[in-house]
Symmetry: none
Subunit: 258 residues, 2 copies
Amino acid sequence: MLETEATPSADRPAVILVRPQLSENIGTTARAMLNCGLTELRLVAPREDWLSEKAVAASSGAHALLEGARAFASTEEAIADLHRVYATTGRNRFMVKPVVTPHQAASELRRHIGAGLACGVLFGPERTGLENDDVALADVVVTVPLNPDYCSLNLAQSVLLIAYEWYQAGGPAQPRAMTKGAAPVAEKRDLVGFFEHLERELDGCGFFRAPEKRPVMVRNIRNMFERADLTQQEVRTLHGIVHELVTWRKKKGEEMPS
Amino acid sequence: MLETEATPSADRPAVILVRPQLSENIGTTARAMLNCGLTELRLVAPREDWLSEKAVAASSGAHALLEGARAFASTEEAIADLHRVYATTGRNRFMVKPVVTPHQAASELRRHIGAGLACGVLFGPERTGLENDDVALADVVVTVPLNPDYCSLNLAQSVLLIAYEWYQAGGPAQPRAMTKGAAPVAEKRDLVGFFEHLERELDGCGFFRAPEKRPVMVRNIRNMFERADLTQQEVRTLHGIVHELVTWRKKKGEEMPS
C-alpha cells in the first residue's frame, strides 16, 4: 500500500500549521511530511487556499495530503481530539514547560503513540512563529539547536527536521507505557473546556483585577494545568472542585440571613 | 565573532554542489548551511550565476557564503585538497563502498576532522543526482532513510539534513532543558500549604460527600498538582484562585437579601 493517503491515523503525529500565510508553503510542507511518512495535515485559519495551483505544484506529488487536510478556525479546535501537543518555537518563551530537541521530541512522540495517545506538532506562521497563546496549549516546546548567530529555517524546513527525526526514531513498536494504569488521558478539548469553566468563574468573582494583565494570567494558569498531564477523570474532578466552590457560594448566599 | 564568514575552515566539512541547475537553489543551500554553522561552499560547473539577484534573495541573509563560494570545472578539482569525501545519493548505486545514514556520517566527519583531515560532502544536480563517476570519487556514500514510497527531497533540503546532523553531533549546542528562566521552583512546604488551603475550603463546601472516600480523593488531587512542577509564583496564583472564589462567595452571601 502506498503511504500517500491522508487519512488521519493514530499511529503517527499530525502536523498542524497555525495561520500559514502562503499556500505554496503548505505544499512544500506536505512534501516534507510525506518524505518522512507523515500524512495528517491540519490547518488553523490558513490565509490562502491550500488546494491552489501553486500549493499543488509545490507539493511535488504529495497532493493527497493537501486533499486530506482539514481546516479549523482556532488552534483549540485543531487540537481538540489530541492528547499530547508539541509546539515548535525558534526562541525561548520563558514559559514553565519542558523544552526538547527534535531528537528528544521524536522519541517522546513514539512513546506516547505507542501508549495509544493521539499527538500533534504545532508550527507557527512564516514570519512570526507561534503566539504565546498557542504555545500555552502545548505540553512541550520543541526547539531546533541551530547556529546561534543565524537561525533562519523556513516553514517546510522546520517541518522536515521534526518529521525526519520522527522517521529516524522508527523501528519496532515500543512497549506500552503503563504509568497511569488504565486511566484514559484527557483530550485537549476536555482541558480547554475546563479552562473556559475556570476562567468564567474567575471573571465572575473579579479575580482578574487588572484587565490588561488578564491574557498573561490566563496563559500562566493554563500552562500550570497543561503540565500536569491530566487524565479524563482528573479533569472531571477539577470541574467538580470549581463547581462546588461556586455552587456552595450561591447556596450559602440564599440561605444566609441578611 | 559572527559565523557568517565564508572562509574555508578545516574544522568543518565543505558542501560541494555538483552541476547545480538553478541559482536559487544555491541560495537556499547557503541558507540551510549557515543555520547549521557550515560556511564553505564549493560549486562544480554551476549552470547559473550563484551571485544572481535570485540566489542572493533565496539565501535570506547568508549571502556571505555565496560571495565566498569557489567554482571548479570538475568534481576532481573541487575535491583535490580534501582527505575524506562523502557522496549523497537517493538510491543504491551498488558500488562496493560503505553506505551510512546522515547521523553516522556526522559522527564520522567529526572524527575525521578531529584527526586533522579535511572533509567534504558531494550533492548532485537537482533532478538527476550525482553521476556514478562522481560517486566513485567518494570514500563513503550517505543515504537519508526516507519513506520508501515517496523520496523527494529538494537540493537544499538534502543539504539541510546533512548539515543538521553535523551540527547536532557537536558538543556545545545541546538542549536547554527546562525554560523556567529565573522562576524559582516551589518548595514542598509551599505545595503542602496550598493543599491544606484547598482541602479546608473543599471540606467547608461539602465537596467530599462520602467521608470514606476523602483520603483517596485528597491523594488524587494532590497528585495532579504535584505533577505540574509548580513554581513559587504559581502556587501563589493557586492560593489566589481559591481565595477569590471563596471570598467572593462570602461577600455575595452577605450582600444577598434572604
